[in-house]
Amino acid sequence: MRQAFSRSNQRGQVLIMVTVALVLMCGMLGLVVDLGWSYFTRKSAQLAVDSAALAAVKMARNSVPTDIMSCGVNNVSCAATPQDCSAISGGNLQSACIYAASAGFSSSDVMQTVTVQASDDLTSPTVAENCGQGGALVRHPPTAGCVNTFYWVTVRASRRIPQLFSAILGNTEMTSGARATAAVADYVPNATLWALNRQNEVPVVGNGGRGNDIYVWGNSEIHAGGIVLASNSTGAGSLDEAGVVGGTGLVSGDTVIRGEGWVSDPSKFDPPPVNGFADLPIFDDPMRGKGQPPAPTGLPEVAVLNGSLSGGNCSNPPVYAPASYYAVNSSGVATGAPITLGGCAKFSGSAGSFGDFVFFGGLNLGSNTVTFSPGRYFLAGTRTGTILSLPNNAVMQDNTPLTAGGDSVPNTDAGEIFVFTDANYPGLQVPGLLAPVRAALDFGEIYTQSGNKFEMNLHGLNSENGALPNELKTFAPTVFWQDQRNSTVKYNSDGSVDYVTCGSGHSIDNPCTNNDPTVKPGMILQASPKLQLYGLIYQPRGAGIEFQGNAHIRSPLQVVTGSVSLQGGNTLEMQQLSNPLRRRIIALVE
């Protein structure tokens, strides 16, 4: 009996031990099954919100023709607080919900929550703070610190998971989820020289043939940080190679060429060029999507007798205020003649401001020192064929002097943009008196005196200066802007190349041609060591730039153009800009 009793006692012990062990084992199982499942949920939620946030931003971006995105404008939706997907219908924010749902997260499931939050750069809850770089305010989403964004969408997805094994330990439910923020932000393309012409375009300046992007002759040299050639010409048939370098010419800088495009003599490139690239975004106009710099509005109109603006003592020159300047004769009839300076002069708004100036008929500096304070300068059409003239000893400068050694320094002021166009620029206000001669005010070229007999020291737009109007910020650091209408290639109003409106059979390689007979798309600059442009020279695809003469230009410079030509033994040394051209991109920022 005693033995039997003790035996049955032992049996009970096993039961207790197993029971206690079961609780522990369930805990272990709970760890593996429930926690494992929650990790899996978190990973799939991350995947869902990443795609959802990108989709919503891309949808908004597609509906906006320029770089400026504002809540409620052009179908750009915003939500100051996280909004549940069940409350969102239509608009770009619904794209986020659709993408999240297709990835397995939908608010219509009672166990799941998907919320969307969005804002532009100026509307709460976007945080504006100084992050210690550059002094300007950073406008960032509340959940992504110090990323300067212009529009953002944050998507949060979570799932409540009923617990299977860890419920025994008291947890009946667990929430697992993820968050992602996609935004429109700035990006710096890694290049200093873009030659955008493709194999079907003929350079408008220089000796290059059809398909040529860069033509360096004599003992000319280009030194650049990165060179992008969009022509895929190998030189076969009647085409020229994408790059032609002859004589003792040299191209130094990483050169990338689209497709099979090649150069006449790779040994004259340092390092040798690299081709074989697909049609990547880098081969398209980096200004696409921005439109063109908006023309100033509401300016006073100043009729200038015979187009002569009087000058004065160079140490204390007369100051001309922001206005539309145009020439009239003694009877007060507008002539469309160029505005010509009679001595040293200065164009400037009030101190520290950004001035708007329009010159109808072109601008001739004479043999004078003319100072251009920060501002937007429209040179709108000429009857002479020359829109900007720098004759012997002309000095065109701004408020940021060169170093004693003659080098450019970065500007802290808002900088200048010179827009070369005609009198029909979209949005340009033309004085009523000019109406009879408006049709005669065509595109023109830049004339600079050869033989190092001129000086130019200008600085492009500086987006970090508060005086720069918002509408011009995306054009920084442009200093010279050639109207996209002044090209052999037709552009859309959003700044992209048009290959649609001219019928079938056209593509980005073979775009619509611009049939305007008045175009003068070539820009010829005499190489002078005193040619100091700190910023970007922009020309549309189909236009071209040529540097002539024998001099060494060393300047922080970026060039976007159709084709480049260097002749006469000059050296173009393009130094790194501290604040180079930016493009707006869509990216995950958190």
Binding site: V32, L35, G36, Y39, K43, Q46, N130, C131, G132, Q133, G134, G135, A136, L137, V138, H140, A144, G145, C146, V147, N148, A183, A185, D186, Y187, V188, N190, D254, E464, Q576, N579, R582, I585, A587, L588, V589, E590
Partner: protein, 182 residues
Amino acid sequence: MLHRRSSRAGNSIIEFTLVGIPVIFLLISVFEVSRGMWMYHTLASAVKDGARFAVVHGNDCNLTPSNCAVRIRDISQRIRSYAVGMPPSEIRNVTFTSRTRTVVCATLADCLASGGQGNTFWPAAAPGAAADAGGESMMGWVEVNAQYSFRSAIAMFWPGAGRAQNFGTFVLPASSREVIQY
């Protein structure tokens, strides 16, 4: 009766010896392999999360006025918080590779330190400094590698496991490569 009873008792001891040892071996094996796979997947997820964190803080973070560049220790902290149950000192050979720069830490603990490797800015350059020449802006990539030394009790059952072998330690590798987003 008594005799037969005690004879049965002896049988069950023999039966238990024959069946129980393999069963316990099997049980511990299943447990240890599962724990190993758990560690392997946790490390893989943690490294992937770290790489994701890096690709949304790429070179464009240096673009004034933005200032969102991160240091190795920030990314390591991210990996650590994901890698539940793995001591940072056991996560070895942590390697952060981009097209232009590579940072290597002997253990994750070194990467988490406020000085040394942990203090390095990656994948972007330090704020205010010029962007890396040809730096890791969009379309660049980053790769994060790590190894976890998994100590398992399983090896004590392995007949072939001699002293020459690192007793019961397995190196679980993890690697994640992602394209820079921003």
